[in-house]
Symmetry: C2
Subunit: 106 residues, 2 copies
């Protein structure tokens, strides 16, 4: 694998890694409906606000969400609506796994 190819896969992995956390997936799901500020999301997740803020910065650094200040609050929104496609892809894998499990029980 040459250097350019390796860097391309690293770039892709960075984006997937940013999504690969239950709280961050939840956040993406919420933001797909409408923008939310940090404390709103923290309330839904029931985690420390600082923790949620860090999750949001991970998503922001990966280019998955954008932030926008409004007064003292910071609202986050999806920057790439397409990200939602991940969910259906993931569901497909999960369904496949479920079928596999069912097959083994027969």
């Amino acid at each position: 694998m040459d250097d350019l190819t390796r860097r391309q896969y690293e770039a892709r992995a960075r984006i997937l890694k940013a999504l690969a956390h239950p709280s961050r997936l939840f956040i993406v799901d919420r933001l797909s409906a409408k923008p939310h500020c940090v404390q709103d999301l923290a309330g839904m997740i029931e985690a420390d606000i600082s923790t949620v803020s860090r999750h949001l910065s991970v998503l922001r650094n990966a280019g998955i969400v954008k932030d926008q200040k409004e007064g003292t609050k910071v609202f986050y929104r999806l920057s790439v609506p397409c990200v939602l496609n991940f969910f259906s892809c993931v569901e497909s894998v999960m369904e496949s796994n479920a079928k596999e499990q069912a097959g083994l029980l027969e």
Copy 2:
């Protein structure tokens, strides 16, 4: 977030986490063309065979690939072809990021 919801996001995150590594993305890409055995993949990635074997077990545990013994070799194949959709999703995010970068330079 109730317990069931939390577990659902955890299950999704497990699958994304399995994909979120450059070598594993490369493997998925190769396997989308045809099945390969461990040493073939190790040769392409230029990593220790034991490392590649571990990557494959991560993908297998997530239900992304299947293994099949043939003599002394073990061939791996994608168990869910849909996984390829991830690539186009990831590319969209990357393109969006690139545009953003370009915009900032203007």
